[in-house]
Subunit: 503 residues, 2 copies
């Protein structure tokens, strides 16, 4: 296994890139007419129904000053206002910088950035079963993700460390990302205060001037669909927008509950909510980077449970990608989602469907590209590794077809000739290391060989692999002065308030 | 479960169609320039290296009479000859008729027809493990496939019934398809004699005049890559072509062994082989239906084992679809392939990747859309049901986005308003039965509910489902006179030769 790991370093270097630059897709799913219909419906929703912004008078004032119709907490927008506001100043792409410049990610256009699981309060693995996540799990997952070459981003709440006080754990999470990985990471996403802490810590890491001029964080800001944003979300949105840090304005919908039970209805609502929030970002700080997000899930109409990897979710993500491109902003969405309790067939049927659809949708940032189980309640260690293989396959696939003279292999075909084989040909010998992507976990051996090796399924092989990767973890190191300053900052923030079990 | 089965009859009727009519894709992967490069390379291969046709002097004579350069068994083709021959007379689409006219399939353009697993000598299920397939398995699989609404075709060798004499079992297989399903089916594919038996049996079923004027069979004709066709395949190809029955000219390649280790090289070889065989079909019987096939697999360069669900296989199928469309013939390829020994995560990660890529490639006929395991050595009962869910999801997804006024749901959004939910809305109530596709096997329940129900993984749930579907099997019936005539024909053919354990 160690030998295999080493080989990979050599031969697959071409796709160990800091992000994916897609040469294939995106795939349109709505015609021009269909897109204009959804856009007109979104405008009508914003004009007639409007959107509510709760417990945040400052935002209502911003909208009122911009000429919107504000009644109580309800804001209504003249048709075209949001789109004009967004397209006037929102950048089409930006770079989120990592402390290791080689790992900075370009976001927008043909790029895709894969982020790990985000938000689960539980973790799961074959040895320890399903359990509440701890800060030890959190740091282990950060380290594990750091060792997966096909992830590009350290993410945010890779699991919720519930053994830490709810009101302070964001500090420990940010520290873990900064300390144990040198990739880009997400800011705290609930509330203005915590967002401020993330910016403070980024300033310690990168320097205040650098942060003032460059995106170094990433925040997902969810609406409370339908058509509400609460102060926890708007607080963080405002803070990051003011600081010029990227915000993904992301309606999270469940068809039939938080949005209409139909795809076309959900799309109009998603676009309406996203446009209102994107316009808000641009009103707060014209030119601040922002992404249209979509997390449009389906729901079992029998049980009310969220469902994943569904045909309708696939249609919605492809259409949302088109709508985002027409707004001229990068597109954020989700990856290998599954309702499965286990790293089984369901988890991979749903997860593969989801990630492929998001990639064909031309998504620029993909959250939950690995590890998500149980509708987001669980980050699975084995599933993380299984999904990581898929991320690698996606990277190679979207790298496109090599049409170089070497790849055309015309001499090899002529020399080999009918009925012979290419195994010994010079072309095969000189290309075999790099020609084909090699995921870690598939077993392609004979039944007899596989049986002799213990007849393990993919999840069991993944169990061995995550332990190996953690054992091989390579600490990127951190300047001791920065480390000390961060720890000092965290200690001061923690000392200012009592521990609380709620946010 | 019975209730659920019944409900599905009502609410998902829109996608219980005899075939899929794609509203999404196909997705291009090669530019115009890239396509022309591959086509020029294929022409050069056919002109300079050529293709060999073994043990079949009649074919060599056909090519010689058409002006090709024939030396021994080697045939070389002037650049452009094959393409001109194909495009002059090959139909762009055709209908393969079923004995139940409601189940006839249209092949070409935007249609996709999903066929079950083809060829495995072994079967596998959780109760009985992995074992040699028997004729009982064969008939059970035909019945099971017949009960899967998302398959469109009864297929051919759904497993190899190795308990029957190798030289006669094709008769029993054809009988099982005709007797236990009323969908279209495949003809025997090895050798002219057996192909003739399939046509004889089709004449008994449909009437000789009908068969003379309509496609009622389907045959896959594989090359022996690189650049060879043997007499078993050319014999069947000739027989079906003469009878006007569709032939899928399908190079089966393994990169690095049977074709160059690179995608671009393999594509040129695949196109060259397919064009030579398609031209042959048109020379034998101008206007006979034929498909460009591609089964371009990758190989582990470490072990020589075939690998599936790989990025390169995805690229090759998308490109092959484009090349087929430029030839003006329907495209045949493969589906949920996996090297896994089990219906586990690997089987679904690889299978989902494979079927989605083939669908995005715009494939018109997809073999092995269900059940394939172990690189084609095994048809899995549980995997069949897991893949069947995927086939249903694919059908719904490619049906496209409904943009009707009802689907736009503008009133529902206005009535519900910010912060409320859609669960009780009239729109949800009147749409919930049909709005969302419901696969059979995902468990979307809470962890507690799932644990209480036995904590089953997807494969275990599939185990219960295939037994249920077999128990619910509905015999489509068969005219007793036809049944008797078929049995009489089979008995006569069997009595003419000794049983043999080889083909």
């Amino acid at each position: 296994m160690a030998r295999r790991g080493k080989k990979r370093e050599v031969d697959q270097s071409t796709i160990r890139a800091p992000y994916i630059d897609r040469k294939i897709g995106p795939l349109p799913v709505l015609s021009q007419e269909g897109l204009e219909l959804i856009e007109a419906n979104a405008d009508r929703i914003l004009a007639e129904t409007g959107m509510e912004f709760h417990d945040d008078p400052e935002i209502l004032q911003i909208f009122a000053e911009a000429g919107c119709d504000v009644m109580g907490t309800r804001v209504r927008f003249a048709p075209g206002f949001c789109r004009r506001t967004i397209t006037a100043t929102a950048p089409a792409s930006y770079t989120q910088h990592a402390r290791n410049p080689a790992k900075s990610v370009r976001v927008g256009g043909s790029t895709s950035v894969l982020c790990p699981s985000w938000g689960p309060p539980f973790v799961q693995d074959l040895d320890r079963g399903r359990r509440y996540a701890s800060y030890e799990d959190f740091t282990d997952l950060v380290k594990l993700h750091h060792m997966i070459p096909w992830l590009h981003h350290s993410g945010g709440v890779v699991c919720e460390p519930v053994d830490l006080p709810a009101n302070k754990r964001h500090l420990d999470m940010l520290y873990a990302h900064i300390r144990w990985s040198d990739r880009p990471f997400m800011g705290a996403f609930i509330g203005a205060e915590r967002a401020g802490h993330a910016i403070d810590m980024a300033r310690i890491l990168f320097g205040a001037d650098y942060v003032a001029q460059n995106p170094v964080l990433y925040c997902v800001s969810n609406t409370n669909a339908p058509l509400v944003m609460d102060a926890n979300m708007s607080g963080a949105l405002k803070t990051y927008a003011l600081a010029g840090q990227p915000v993904a304005c992301t309606p999270w919908t469940l068809t039939g509950a938080m949005s209409p039970t139909t795809v076309a209805g959900t799309l109009a609502q998603v676009l309406a909510e996203a446009m209102a929030c994107l316009a808000l970002v641009q009103l707060i700080n014209p030119g601040a980077p922002c992404l249209m997000g979509s997390f449009a899930s389906t729901m079992s109409m029998q049980t009310g449970a969220p469902t994943f990897g569904t045909p309708e979710a696939g249609q919605m993500v492809l259409a949302a990608g088109q709508l985002a491109r027409r707004l001229g902003v990068p597109f954020h969405t989700v990856g290998t989602l599954s309702a499965s309790k286990l790293p089984d067939g369901q988890s991979q049927q749903e997860g593969t469907w989801g990630l492929l659809m998001s990639m064909f949708a031309g998504a620029n940032m993909i959250n939950h590209a690995t590890g998500w189980l149980e509708g987001g309640l669980v980050t699975g260690y084995e599933k993380t590794m299984m999904d990581a293989d898929l991320c690698g396959k996606v990277a190679r696939f979207f790298d496109g077809i090599d049409l170089s003279e070497n790849a055309q292999a015309m001499e090899a075909i002529a020399e080999t000739g009918p009925g012979k084989h290419f195994l010994g040909s010079e072309h095969t010998q000189s290309n075999f290391l790099g020609a084909l992507f090699r995921p870690d976990l598939p077993d392609n051996n004979s039944y007899e060989h596989w049986s002799g090796a213990g007849a393990l399924d993919m999840a069991q092989r993944a169990n061995a692999l995550w332990k190996q990767r953690l054992a091989e973890y390579e600490d990127p190191g951190l300047d001791p002065a920065i480390d000390e300053a961060l720890q000092d900052y965290i200690a001061r923030r923690k000392s200012e308030t009592e521990d609380r079990a709620y946010f």
